[in-house]
Symmetry: C2
Subunit: 142 residues, 2 copies
Amino acid sequence: MIKTKNAARTRLSKFGIKPSLHRLAVMEYLMGNYTHPTVDMIFNSLFPSIPTLSKTTVYNTLKLFEEKRAITTVTIDGKNMRYDADITKHAHFQCRKCGAIHDLRIKDEIPVVVDNPENLLLDDCHVYFRGYCEECGKSYVL
Amino acid sequence: MIKTKNAARTRLSKFGIKPSLHRLAVMEYLMGNYTHPTVDMIFNSLFPSIPTLSKTTVYNTLKLFEEKRAITTVTIDGKNMRYDADITKHAHFQCRKCGAIHDLRIKDEIPVVVDNPENLLLDDCHVYFRGYCEECGKSYVL
DNA sequence: TCATAAATTTGTAATGATTACATTTTTATT
DNA sequence: AATAAAAATGTAATCATTACAAATTTATGA
């Protein structure tokens, strides 16, 4: 997958992040899995092929990516942080039962702030919905 | 503050929650403090006047309130859950530096979902912004 | 090339919010 | 008052995340 490797390398360079092997691996994983994975999912997926990887490094790496705004973070239920390499504007949905996170496209990507009397410096906006995914909804009706 | 006591009692009854003294106290606190408090803030504020209160009860109570949709929860940074008795539609803002949460009014309260191919059952929508509040923004420019 | 400094990574231990759970207390019912 | 049901308590466990010191890797410059 040289193509995804290049995409990951390009993304890192675009955001001023030095491309160590582990950083490339984490970014490549995120850019190949738009499933809003947790740290554990990322670590468990990469560990078999990179046995020298530590979970702390995954934490450090993701924190760096987020600080540099090379990825976004999603936290809806307040349990595990989720990571998303899709930095285009889109909304999220989390099922109250199974916890899965899905993407949702909304009409006006960035809601318009009516007034800002406190002069807050906004630089980032997230929209999310909660409810039940189709499967979990079924079992709820029963 | 008989008025706020009544308001709290009314809110509980409206959402089918039996009004125990502790539940009333927590709801009254939330309806008198729209500051998106954490569990600790709520507990520490109430404990002096209700020394028999336990933190577990505050957790239990807030969880019940949220299940009954008598309040909403806000989690932006994924650290502490915040609780909000304002159940009208509004957006939130959290400062990346000091962590304070503020309310924000946006133009179209509920973003319109363009398409929903997975038939997700949406029942709740949240919008939040991140950035820096005025004070923290100043120190950043320096 | 080799030495040195800087950056990265590691692994363990600590933190801290939240939950589990068994017990106790309070409230409602007959 | 006796019993059952609900609410509240307090401690212990859980689990994601962070702190931190040590080890490793990478870059730099003589």
